[in-house]
Structures are given as structure tokens and as C-alpha cells.
Symmetry: C2
Subunit: 491 residues, 2 copies
């Protein structure tokens, strides 16, 4: 195992830094078999501040290799804030004249935060993203504002232009810029005062997404999605991420409607970013924390983890309108021993093994006809402390699906909301509940990923039992499988 | 005291029915010194169903007189669903030809729910709203839909027309109709897919509202507000109410922007309705419950209460954008003995008296310069059970204001969310926190009503102590006053 990754609350299949504080994912890109993830990182402390770009690489998004810091500030009053990265295969930037086409250059686009303002800057890498040189002509965009950040750049094939989405946070606005060389940017349009405003907009991401014509089936069509993170002032408190389905023509984003929609019904999924360069798959991940409590949660010597890597699609659900479907990316490289597989009626206690401490669970619940008010409980329990992390279906009002972290006792704080719920009106042949439990993160998916929740929790005892109890009239097909640690070498 | 209003959890300054189940306020109107409130009512049970229009009257909105049921279904498979009432001073309907102008007719507009469909119907009252005759030409609007309900009618002076807002719930739409006689209605426009969608839209309300140019100061201008309730699928679970500021020209509502905004950061304020006939004041109230748990909360022999009556205004806050300011209407008729008035540093325990059990609290918190991370706690405590209902300011992230009902132990349910929070970035000369504690309802207002939260709670012991504790660097000016019961005769 990679040294330093064996603490009681250390996630085993979610990325976290070995030490110190991490927040937003930055510069996600994929090229030639390797996923690169940069992230907001304080290399000198366990709370936010002194922002650098940390770096890690992976070939499956579960086994990560920590890399040296990729971007550092030049002085103590600078911060390298969030941004993105692209593969400049055609050397549009001119930085990579001497490189072979099999080793294209990487350009990082980030916000430089100083006491006086925030500007957009670029840096280039000739070694595939491991080391960067800051562009001598920085900043590439300067509007004399101290609220102007988080550039996410994509290549827009139809117009053959680079497109940047960047936030004017306190104006509740996303501004789109276009460029042909990543150095000279022209303002194209502004998307303003849509969705849930909170106190400010951050981390806009524009991405093309496959459209499904059912929860599972790809229609072959695509739409664009604009993702905007809000902090503070999310509807459940603090930070959250919302999405807008729509069309993008190279200059203007036009939403499908004027509705506000979240990507996650928990409250630990912020600053979601999508990987550049994954072709026709939309892959992304978020920061699995919330600014309301991230600086004080009880983990050491590090704080924060990323969500599971997920694959995304859009579906215009006939009841719930547009949903952003997400599912964990292929987990085959971390699947370990099956702990239980079979049908459950009434109740079942499943002992969780002593492996990495991360588990996959998959439950299909079926209901007899004519049974109205019923409940299905799925509870992770600590034998030693009797703490409980609860999930369940309530059939009497919608029905609802709930997550309740109030029974885990390692962290008590007025803003650490205990209970989350969503409508879960029915999936394919019943209700499908699946996901991953990983030491301090519960990630739950409903009905083929139509809804999902990321929920951090902090138990004092290890959750070593999974208890299922079903009211009369309900039955479930259950699969619980141990997961290998992503911090072990792959075998 | 009115008989039947002395139970441990019976609200004393909030309206509740003596027995059985209540939900949405209906038909709110004011005429000639009397406020009339109708409400969705099941006269035969303590859970929702068998919907009638209950009725109560008041001259101050705190002392209520229960009246006989105003509208009843004709058969067991009918329901008299939500709707509104108007004063037809000019006898536009033709129902009131023989009445004197000092005793104008009242017309109620409601949804008739049957197993096959929902239609809009009217009934008229020649005795000022106490008894109604259903119109022989009903329904007045029938679109052959079983999802078409909750008509709210206003008089639009500029176009000299009646205007109805009514919901197509599962289409996330509000439809506007116009009429000159309340009988013949013409579709004018549709407002669709704005704001938070959830699972369905209910109880639209269109109202003209004074615009303030600070938290407190009336600019003399007005705007229109469209209020839409959502259930299920609110961001905190279940039901909530959202508002859209905008303009209305008699046929079309045009929102100021495409943002989603709530009226309350708690989760017990649904189906808000505004009083017809209050001239240039905008008065309204909501149902202080949530469909996720309203049928099972531990009160008997009744369930549910209304929120405090509130006066509304709009303010375009320079930081938070449009806010719907609300404050309790004049409480002078229920103010009783002052229990504490003075400055608090460090901490103070205030004994709550043995009066009605309802209290008004008013706290201004000031902060010394240079003090960053601080906390102010305001906690209602039961001496007998040690239960706590907590509120507080956290200065370290925004700052935030929180409400935490997890310390009251009379009701435990996975959807009874424990913790609520909002940004509270600063008021006039500090932070202003005030409101009412009333046996099972905590109603909290921040910064001159710019934000508010309605929170039901169910403690086993009586909350008989109010504890204030302030970190170093904070001080507070505190006023706690006992309230008279609205169910006592006025003196």
C-alpha cells in the first residue's frame, strides 16, 4: 500500500492527498491511457489557504499515483486558484513547436489570485502535464476585478475555437470567452442570474453530454450542460453544484428552460469538473466536502477527498424533467470478494469483511401489489459503538429515499446537516439503490443513476455490519462486494 | 380561553383548528375590519382527506374565532380543494343584485376534485363569507385534466379584470386566466418550468408588493411577485414555497430573472396565500407543516397550524439579489409581560414565564472589530428533560445562521430534517435575530425580515428557559416578552 493511506477514516477508493488540505479538482484531462487530476492544495496546512495545484495520475481513476506539485505561487500573497487543462494537439498556442505529435503539449488555464485582483493565466507543459512553465505574457484575461475566477476551457469542434467558461461570482454570472490560441481571448456572451443564486457562483463547466431516451438507453444525440457551483448559500447550506441542460453554439449557451436543478441531493459534492479529452464519454468528479465544515472535519493528517469518478448522461424524465444521470466509472479493477448475493425478505445482517474497508452495495427492492405504506431500511452499523449510518425507502409519500448520518457520532456541528431525502418515484421493475461505502464517504445512486447523493460521515467505530430490514410486502435482491484499495498496487 | 386549546403542544398565537386535520390556507380576504381565513380541513379525521373549507375570522390576525365549515363536498368522492376568495364590490358576478353596497358579496373560487378530474368552481356568499351557495353553472373552467388546481384570483385594476393564477402541477406550470364576471374565464398566458421544479407545482399566488430600497425603507414603488409551492421534491425535502419577483401586465407575468428563490429557509411553510383586500399592504400566511411528515406528527386531537400572519415587501439586496422581506404583522394585541430587557455579554439564562407559553424574542448582536471566528448561541431549554432547541450565529463562514431541532426528542422520523442554515452576512449595525416561540413552532426572522424560517419542533418537556451564550468579542441587546394567548378573549 502507498505509505500514509491506512488511517481509520482514510478513503480507499476515493482520491485524497496523503497529507494536508485539498479542495476543488482542477485541470482534469485524459491522454494516451492516463488520467491527470490536479487539485487545489495547501501543501503547508490542513485547512484551506496557500493554494497550489497538487497532481495525481491514474489509468483507471481508482488507483492513483501522487505526483509532485504542478503549479505553485511565486510569492506568499499569490494563490494558484482553480482552473482547467487542455491537450493542445495542434500546437494552437505555439508553445510546442519542437514536440512530436505523439507527445502533444498540455496547457493549464488557472486563476491567479492576488490581494488586488483575480486574473486568468496560462502555463504550459512539454512533458505531458508533470511540470509547467508559466506563460511570460500572463495574464491572458484581466478585467480589473477581484471576483473573476475558475476558468474551464474546452475545444469547440464546430467553430474550431477554444471556449472558456469563467465565473463572475458575485454577479451570479458565467462569462464565455473564445480563442484560437489560448492566449488571446474574446468575450462571447454572459449567462446570468439563472438557477439557485446563493451568495456566489464558482467553477462553471461546459460539457457536451449524451442524451438518453430512458434511464439507461443512449439516444445517440447529445446536448450541452453548464454546471455551476454555488457557495455559500446552497439550499441545504453551504456549497452545492447545479446544472443547466441546453444548447451551445460556440458563443452562447441557451438553457432548455428556466429551472434550477442540482446534481446531488447530499451536501458533499462541490466544484464538479469534467475530464478534457475523453472523446464521446462524459467523465467527471467533484470535491466531496462542503465549505460549511471542511476546515474542521475530524480527519488527520489530511482533509477532504474527491467523489467517485462518474460517467454522465442527460435524461428528460417524463415525471421529473431533466436529470443528470451519473454512475461510477468501471469499477472492475477494484472489485474484490463478494460478501453476500441473494434475495432478502424481512431482514438480513451482512458482515462486512476486514479488507480495505470499502464496499459496493447493490439492492433492487420489489413491492407486492396493494401494499401502500411501507419502509425498507439499509443501515451500516458499528458493532463496537452501535453507531448507525442509515438509508431507506419510505413508500408512503412519493415514495422518498432518505439518508441519515445523525447516528454517526464522530463530528457534531450545527451546520453538519443530518438528513437528506429525495423523491424516488420508481425505477425499472422496482427501486434500485446502489453505491459505495468508503470509510468516511457514502455515495448512493438511485434508479440507474438518475439521482445520487454524496454524504461524508464520521463514525467513531468502524461500520462493520450492513443491516437490511423490509416491511411485509417488500423483497430485495442484494449484492454486497468488498472493494480493493486503490492505494494497493494493482494485481 | 376558547375550550380545547390548552394542550401542551397547542400553539397560542398561531391559528390551529380545535380538532382534526388542517392544511393549506384558502380564500384569505379582508373586509370592513374583519380578516377571513378558510383552510383545507378534514372534519372527520386527523390525517389529510375528506377536504372541506374550514373557516375562522379575526380582527387582528392573532385572536381567531372559529366559524362553521364554509364549503363541503356533495358526495364522499368529492373534495373541496384549495382556492381563494374575493370581495365583489361592484357585483361583477351578478350574484349580488339585491345587496347594499355596504354589504358586498363574497365569491370563493376553488378546485373541485373528483376521481376523474379537477375543475375550477365558484360559490357565492351574501352574508359576508359565512355561508356559500355553489354556482349552478359550475365548473367555470374545465380542461379535462386531473392535475389542475388551486385557483387564486385577484382584481387587476389597470386592466379592470379578474385574474386567476392556477397550477398545472405535473407540467410545472402556472396558467393565468382573465374574466370580467368570475364566471367566464379566458386563458391569458402560461408561466412554465421556472425555479425549483420538484415533482409538482401547487398553490400559485400573484400579488403586488411594495419595493423597499433598503431592508426597512419603502421606495413607494411596487412590483409583482408570483409565489409557487412545490411538493414533493423541495430542496430540503417534501414541500416548500418559492417566489419570483417580476412584472404583470394583466395577462403575462415576466420575472426579473431566471433565478430560483425560497421564501423560508426552514421546511415548514407551504401553500402561502395573500389576503385579498388589504389595499396597499401585502399580508399573507402559510401552512406551517410539510407533507413529508404532517400526517404523523405528535399532536392531538388536531394536526397542523398556520404560520404567523406576515407583512411582505421586496428588496433587491445588493449582495443576495431579490429577497422577499417578511415580518409578523402588528403584535401589540398579544404583547404581555416583558421577561428580560438588557445587554448581554458572555451569557444569560432567561426564565420563561408560566403564561400562555408563547414568547417573543428580539436580539441584536454586535461584534468587536478584528474578531473573526466566533459563535453566538440562542437556545431554548427544557429544565425537566434537558431537551434543547438551538439557534445561533457562526461568524466564520459568511457568517451563517443556524437552527437545530435535533435536541427536541418528541418526534423521530428520517424525513424530519434536523438542521437548517442560511447566509446571514450582516444587518443594520450588527445581526438582528427575532421571532416567536410557540409551543411547537419556532418562527425566526433575520435582519429586518430579509430572511425567515418556520420550524416545527416537538419537545417532550416544556421549553422553559432561554439561554444566550456569546463568544468573547460579541455582545447582544436582548428583549424577551411573554405573549398573550390568541385563544383568550381580548382585554
Amino acid at each position: 500500500m502507498v505509505p500514509g493511506y491506512n488511517q481509520t477514516r482514510r478513503p480507499q477508493v476515493h482520491f485524497s492527498p496523503a497529507v494536508n488540505f485539498m479542495n476543488d479538482p482542477n485541470g482534469l484531462f485524459y491522454y494516451n491511457g492516463t488520467y491527470h487530476m490536479y487539485y487545489q492544495y495547501n501543501p503547508t496546512g490542513i485547512t484551506a489557504g496557500n493554494q497550489h495545484w497538487g497532481h495525481a495520475t491514474s489509468d483507471d481513476l481508482y488507483h492513483w499515483h501522487n505526483q509532485p506539485i504542478a503549479l505553485s505561487p511565486e510569492s506568499p500573497d499569490e494563490g494558484i486558484f482553480s482552473g482547467s487543462a487542455v491537450v493542445d494537439v495542434d500546437n494552437t498556442s505555439g508553445f510546442f513547436g519542437n514536440q512530436s505529435s505523439s507527445n502533444p503539449g498540455i496547457v493549464a488555464i488557472y486563476t491567479l489570485n492576488t490581494p488586488s485582483k483575480e486574473t486568468q493565466n496560462i502555463a504550459y507543459s512539454t512533458d505531458g502535464g508533470y511540470t509547467f512553465t508559466k506563460y511570460s505574457g500572463n495574464p491572458v484575461i484581466d478585467i480589473n476585478s477581484n471576483q473573476f475566477r475558475d476558468p474551464k476551457v474546452i475545444w469547440h469542434a464546430d467553430t474550431k475555437k477554444w471556449v472558456m467558461a469563467v465565473a463572475l461570482p458575485t454577479q451570479f454570472s458565467v462569462v464565455f470567452y473564445t480563442s484560437s490560441d489560448l492566449k488571446n481571448w474574446k468575450k462571447a456572451s454572459t449567462f446570468s442570474h439563472h438557477g439557485w443564486l446563493g451568495n456566489q457562483f464558482e467553477c462553471p463547466n461546459l460539457v457536451e453530454v449524451p442524451v438518453h431516451n430512458s434511464q439507461q438507453q443512449n439516444s445517440g444525440e447529445t446536448k450541452w450542460v453548464l454546471v455551476v457551483s454555488v457557495n455559500p448559500g446552497a439550499p441545504q447550506g453551504g456549497s452545492f453544484t447545479q446544472f443547466f441542460p441546453g444548447e451551445f453554439d460556440g458563443t452562447d449557451f441557451t438553457p432548455e428552460d428556466d429551472a434550477a436543478r442540482w446534481v446531488d441531493f447530499g451536501k458533499d459534492n462541490y466544484a464538479m469538473q469534467f475530464f478534457y479529452g475523453t472523446e464521446n464519454k462524459t467523465l467527471g468528479l467533484g470535491w466531496a466536502s462542503n465549505w460549511q465544515y471542511t476546515n474542521i472535519v475530524p480527519t488527520s493528517p489530511w482533509r477532504s477527498a474527491m467523489t467517485l469518478p462518474r460517467q454522465y448522461a442527460l435524461w428528460n424524465d417524463p415525471v421529473l424533467s431533466w436529470q443528470f444521470i451519473s454512475n461510477p466509472t468501471d469499477m472492475s479493477t477494484i472489485m474484490n470478494k463478494n460478501l453476500f448475493s441473494g434475495k432478502v425478505t424481512k431482514s438480513k445482517n451482512i458482515k462486512l469483511g476486514d479488507g480495505s474497508g470499502a464496499y459496493y452495495f447493490d439492492i433492487y427492492v420489489s413491492q407486492d401489489q396493494g401494499q401502500a405504506t411501507q419502509r425498507a431500511n439499509f443501515t451500516f452499523i458499528s458493532s463496537s459503538t452501535k453507531e448507525e449510518l442509515r438509508m431507506g425507502l419510505l413508500m408512503d409519500n412519493g415514495p422518498s429515499f432518505f439518508i441519515d448520518r445523525s447516528g454517526t457520532k464522530g463530528f457534531d456541528y450545527p451546520l453538519f446537516t443530518d438528513k437528506f431525502a429525495t423523491i424516488q418515484y420508481g425505477g425499472i421493475g422496482g427501486w434500485h439503490v446502489y453505491g459505495v461505502l468508503d470509510k468516511m464517504i457514502l455515495e448512493t445512486f438511485l434508479n440507474e443513476g438518475e439521482q445520487s447523493a454524496t454524504t461524508t460521515y464520521f463514525s467513531n467505530g468502524v461500520l462493520d455490519k450492513f443491516s437490511i430490514s423490509l416491511d411485509t410486502g417488500l423483497s430485495a435482491t442484494v449484492n454486497v462486494t468488498a472493494l480493493k484499495s486503490g492505494w494497493d498496487q494493482k494485481k
